[in-house]
Symmetry: C2
């Protein structure tokens, strides 16, 4: 299992509309083979900053199964209009955890 951290910068005046549109967008991600779970986190200190955390079975599940699928365009069509700048994604492997 790996963790994708996608940092999203949403136009502050569009935050409500972005959050209202998110259920449809997360349903797309949840349908991808290799998807495990996700959460959307809103930064308390910086308005418009979000971390979209997605657990995948592998980096390939994200980079191939999702990003090379037509579903990426569906996802972008839903939330792309709210982005103030392009999202940045990184992948992480767990070193240690108390539980999850």
């Amino acid at each position: 299992m790996i963790l994708e951290v996608a940092i999203l910068h949403i136009k502050p005046e569009e935050m409500s509309r972005f959050e209202a549109a998110f259920p449809k967008a997360e349903a797309i991600v949840s349908s991808i083979p290799g998807y495990i779970s996700h959460e959307l986190q809103r930064c308390i200190e910086t308005k418009g900053r979000y971390h979209f955390l997605i657990r995948w079975e592998s980096v390939e599940a994200h980079m191939v199964n999702f990003r090379q699928s037509p579903k990426l365009q569906d996802f972008r069509a839903l939330v792309g209009p709210f982005f103030a700048q392009p999202p940045v994604a990184e992948h992480f492997e767990r070193v240690t955890a108390s539980h999850i």
Copy 2:
């Protein structure tokens, strides 16, 4: 519940020693009132980059119970020597999640 995301930049040549020292450091964090759970994630793309994700009952649990406690110094004494630059921490509140 809130999520603290601490971004750590570890000297690449010190990653093994940092990870070996981490169990003592995480035991300190786990002992703080208001602590819920944590995980340490190592970036796949950027050597030396880690996300230390900690769930707290509130921002105050982190900023007061931990950062104004003498235990912060104990924590820093254990892992501070491995830092290539000071860590950056932000707090997040959950918008939505599949489960956790």
